[in-house]
Amino acid sequence: MSETQIYSLRVNGKLRDVTDAWLGESLLYVLRERLGLPGSKGACEQGECGSCTVVMDGVAVCSCLVLAASAVGADITTIEGFTDGALTDVQQAFIDEGAVQCGFCTPGLIVAVHHLLDNTPRPSEMKIKEALSGNICRCTGYGRIFAAVTRVIEQRAQQ
């Protein structure tokens, strides 16, 4: 792949062409600036904050640390891909428990919580804390976020 070559990424189930992009761009940048998917947030750009979390080939990763052009062939799900427009149960629980303040970390946390509960439906408290340890929230103090996760676990168990 040379400097200006067009490449395609599979994002939220659709193959999307990336054109006019510098090959050194991160997946985060390509999602936001090239593909019109601004849900993933860019804060630290060094993998510390988790605001840009996406699911790639079944694992949660920081999209700022993925070289977009190297993700050809991977299956990428962004925050936009978890919903068809309506709120997911995780999003609704965040609202109901007051787990959102400034909101900047929220998309990354929602992706991380979906990823956790899709793989581990009944996680322990430690497991929840560990799973969200890569998502930094400076507003809430995490109490309400953990309450939202617990609410989703209980709701899903009742279904």
């Binding site: 792949m1 991160s26 694992v59 949660a60 990763v61 640390l65 070289l67 190297s70």
Partner: protein, 283 residues
């Protein structure tokens, strides 16, 4: 600039030979930070995520040797069979960054970057790991102590890549400990890995973030072997643990930097060594 995504080791090695200014991309957790902050010109990138040979690990039970592919992520070392075989590696893997970082970061990346703060490296050194390398000229293997040369300097040639690391399984106890400003998402201020090999009756301890590269404390190791029966691992006199910590800290060579001071690091690494030894000797 160009990006190449080989799917076999042979193709990857051929690209390293053909491209003049090639850069290897493993999990991207160091590389992309450099790119995002423009501290790094991007030339020809060879992304290794699709090279299947690098993503596997094998346990050869006849030689008691485990070979871990350079592209195996830390997430795979945290639990399961690898964690059972190498508890110290599992402990180190669990301290790397966050779940998102551990899903991407690899031992090959840790070795390629060769930072003195690389979390996996003290464990590999304490396990006497061998680093397996490949280039178009062929394959070679180096003891890890000869691979790591200095801060972000290794014996890796420009046209060479890390294929895997091989370690013997050990009987006895092994562990890892790290000091940082918080529990998750932290680069170590000081770290240590201790292996108490009951079969040979030897101890091996390696330190991270307290020198230009990972340090093996051979003098403290030898001293401990004269003071304490590692094969028996009976009750440990606290004075021996304290003296061991002191001797380990004397072999460290830390500096002052933005993360800590030399004085604190020297002290902390001695505490870690003492604590690890006490942990290893409590039955």
């Amino acid at each position: 600039m160009s990006i190449h995504i080989p799917t076999s080791l042979d193709d990857a090695v051929a690209l390293l030979h053909e491209l003049p200014r090639v850069q290897l991309l493993a999990g991207g957790t160091d590389f992309m930070v450099e790119v995002n902050f423009n501290r790094h010109d991007v030339h020809d990138v060879v992304a290794l995520r699709r090279v299947t040979e690098l993503q596997q690990w094998q346990h050869d039970e006849t030689s008691n040797t485990v070979t871990i592919g350079a592209g195996v992520p830390y997430a795979e070392m945290e639990n399961g069979e690898l964690a059972r075989l190498f508890p110290a590696l599992a402990e180190a893997a669990r301290t790397v960054g966050s779940p998102q970082i551990r899903a991407a970061g690899t031992l090959g990346g840790n070795l390629g970057t060769c930072s003195p703060a690389g979390d996996g490296l003290p464990v590999l050194f304490a396990l006497d790991a061998v680093v397996n390398l490949a280039s178009h000229r062929g394959k070679r293997s180096l003891p890890i102590g000869e691979f790591m040369l200095g801060p972000k300097r290794s014996a890796l040639a420009v046209d060479e890549l890390v294929v895997s690391v091989s370690m013997k399984t050990t009987t006895g106890w092994q562990g890892y400990a790290k000091v940082g400003t918080r529990n998750a998402m932290v680069i170590s201020v000081a770290s240590a890995s201790l292996v108490l090999d009951s079969e040979s009756g030897t101890a091996r301890i390696a330190l991270g973030s307290v020198g230009p590269t990972i340090i093996r404390c051979t003098q403290a190791e030898q001293w401990l072997q004269t003071q304490y029966d590692i094969s028996a691992r009976k009750e440990l006199d606290e004075a021996i643990a304290t003296e061991f910590g002191l001797r380990v800290s004397q072999e460290s060579r830390p500096i002052d930097d933005h993360r800590s001071t030399a004085q604190y690091r020297r002290h902390a690494v001695g505490v870690l060594a003492k604590r690890l030894l006490q942990r290893g000797c409590v039955q």
